[in-house]
Symmetry: C2
Subunit: 392 residues, 2 copies
């Protein structure tokens, strides 16, 4: 763990904190003033929205299918019809096909939505491998501030598998839902006066029934609980930990990004952005048992448990099983029960891993709908056809 | 100009606009919804603050002076005492010395404050070279929306040299000042209810006396007027134009960043951030008459006019001349009158170019004060000593 710098206690973080931060809060009112400006001037993108000024102009042809995709009849129209922004198909031989719509390039970082969760799952895996997190331990052991919340007595494994008994309304269209309130706290929507101060406070406010491990309940907040565990265990902000433990070891061509709330808390459950090519390297980890280019990132045991440990019984009645009858959720990944493991984010973000065929497909989209059973079905079919072609 | 994509009319932009944007505004309420999500998912850093997840971990030793700086007696203490975050000394032979305080690295992008202005000046220079901007033309020719403002009848050259007759209070500590209001509109401070909708509206609201070209009046808003000219002339958002015309041609090792307001307008007068090494390449352009590594970026004529065209008479009585008695401001650069040209930003950001010695010094700092005569004096002395050593 020598690569993890600046250990500090983040358990009671309620303002934008950073190594050496004074007690007075860094806010939009104070960041330009001493002593905050020492840190803020090198981290302005965490305070104010920014736009990159690229050091090179893209010359990659857009709106074009390449590689094997060219040979798939009607593929371009299917990609257009499914609001595709980018698609990358990779095997152990490298990228075998890709597509970018006009305006999106190989260098474009696209929002991952809940694919971010699956990346957090791998980061927890690395910490479990290193003996720093025990999946059987209670959340409150690592995050005392969550002791009185729904998560306090849940096991880390319950959070990983989303079987925590928590009252959380994941209705993306309802302004009164928990998920919209969390969006507001994360800075993704305008704040309401009564909203909690930051994501830490929001998570601590969630209540539940205490019967964990019995039913799969999809709940975005759980991933942010895991990110809080990551921060407290490593002493790093979540983004630094993801970089140290995963992103910097992946051979990524670009930095990834993650959105932060006004307390500096990274939106672990949905706020990551990266390129389609870099994301396909995350898929390779799942395909190759935690290795990429011969380097081990996470243990084969963790990947195996993720794929084989999923319990479809817990997900009975979920819409997932309308498409994948033996589907389940495990360690922040979806398992189809028919040889694939995948990550999915609303509006059509995917890492699809066909384990037998040895094919990884990443897709970025902008569906008008957040999620529908039909989109899930259409994409499972699409990916299986592409995978069969790539494997052939 | 084939490298400038997506021409469109931005003159009446009042909401976050992008190529193909619908009439309904993209706001923090709507960016996740169709049709905005098609653009927003690939540009999330313009909507919500973000933090990078680096693809590589820095291994550069920090808090250490290297190269010729090591031989300068007492230099480290002087750098610490002047709140230095980073310092790079470059000659035509390359980097000859550098310093980074703990927590800042060769890969850190630091806020440039008003050094951003000097970069905008060079971008205008490229457009003048290409015949797309005429410095003698009135601002309203390029930006009709500014017709009724203080800038309407000013010449582009007046704006470049900050001799526009505009009512603008540049008091950084006064909440009632124009500069703080502009900060609020730019997203750098919390909005007030009565603030203009965005930077475009703010600029159009500025009034003045109409007597341009007579007195040097430092005014940050002028650079944003120039950025608006850049947008209307190129049909690109400012960040894209800076990339096309300058940053992508500079051999920069990293993308730069610039903060954006809620209308997507880049804060041209102060919001850029880049690494100290990349910034030193901007200084090389001034040193080598518009060329770097043998590539011409801006004409020798533009650089010559910037350095030689400065008129100290216009700056009589300014605090600049307390330190540099023959100092003047020209094309968004400061000229000392004794063989140096420089860019400066509040709290201690610098590009210092010693033309005779052939030395470029970039310095990032976080002074507690925005600007003082004493800091300017201390830094002129410091840079002259370093330059003499580098030249020796």
């Amino acid at each position: 763990m020598t690569d993890l710098l600046h250990p500090r206690d983040l358990a009671s973080t309620r303002v934008l904190r950073y190594p050496g931060a004074p007690d007075a809060p860094l806010t939009l009112d104070t960041w330009q003033d001493a002593p905050h400006n020492r840190w803020a001037f090198s981290h302005v993108e965490q305070i104010v929205p920014t736009v990159p000024i690229p050091r090179r102009r893209d010359t990659h042809p857009t709106r074009e299918v390449g590689g094997l995709l060219r040979d798939l009849s009607g593929i371009e129209q299917r990609l257009v019809d499914s609001y595709t922004d980018a698609l990358v198909v990779r095997t152990r031989d490298g990228i075998v096909g890709e597509y970018y719509r006009d305006g999106v390039t190989v260098d474009s970082r696209h929002l991952l939505m809940s694919v971010s969760k699956s990346i957090c799952g791998l980061v927890i895996g690395v910490l479990v491998d290193r003996g720093l997190v025990d999946p059987a331990e209670r959340v409150s052991t690592y995050v005392p501030d969550l002791h009185d919340s729904a998560y306090g007595d849940a096991r880390i494994q319950h959070v990983l598998d989303m079987t925590v008994d928590v009252d959380y309304d994941e209705d993306y269209r309802n302004p009164a839902s928990h998920v919209q309130k969390q969006d507001r706290v994360a800075g993704w929507r305008p704040r309401a006066d009564t909203d909690p101060e930051d994501t830490y406070a929001f998570l601590a406010s969630l209540s539940g029934g205490g019967s964990h491990g019995e039913v799969f309940r999809y709940c975005s907040a759980g991933t942010d609980v895991l990110a809080w565990v990551v921060e407290n265990v490593t002493g790093c902000r979540y983004a630094d930990a993801v970089s140290s433990l995963l992103w910097s070891r992946l051979g990524a061509a670009h930095d990834a990004l993650i959105t932060v709330d006004r307390g500096g808390f990274a939106f672990a459950n949905g706020g990551m952005a990266c390129t389609a090519r870099d994301l396909s390297r995350v898929g390779m980890l799942m395909l190759d048992g935690g290795e990429i280019d011969g380097d081990r990132i996470v243990s084969a045991e963790w990947v195996r448990r993720t794929i084989e440990g999923a319990d479809p019984e817990l997900a009975r009645g979920s819409i997932l099983q309308n498409v994948h009858p033996q589907g389940a959720y495990s360690n922040q990944w979806w398992v189809t029960g028919s040889g694939e493991v995948y990550a999915i984010g609303i509006h059509g973000q995917y890492i699809w891993v066909d384990l037998a065929a040895g094919v990884v497909i990443t897709k970025f989209s902008a569906w008008p709908e957040a999620v529908t059973e039909e989109w899930n079905r259409v994409h499972a079919e699409l990916f299986r056809e592409i995978s069969a072609a790539a494997h052939a």
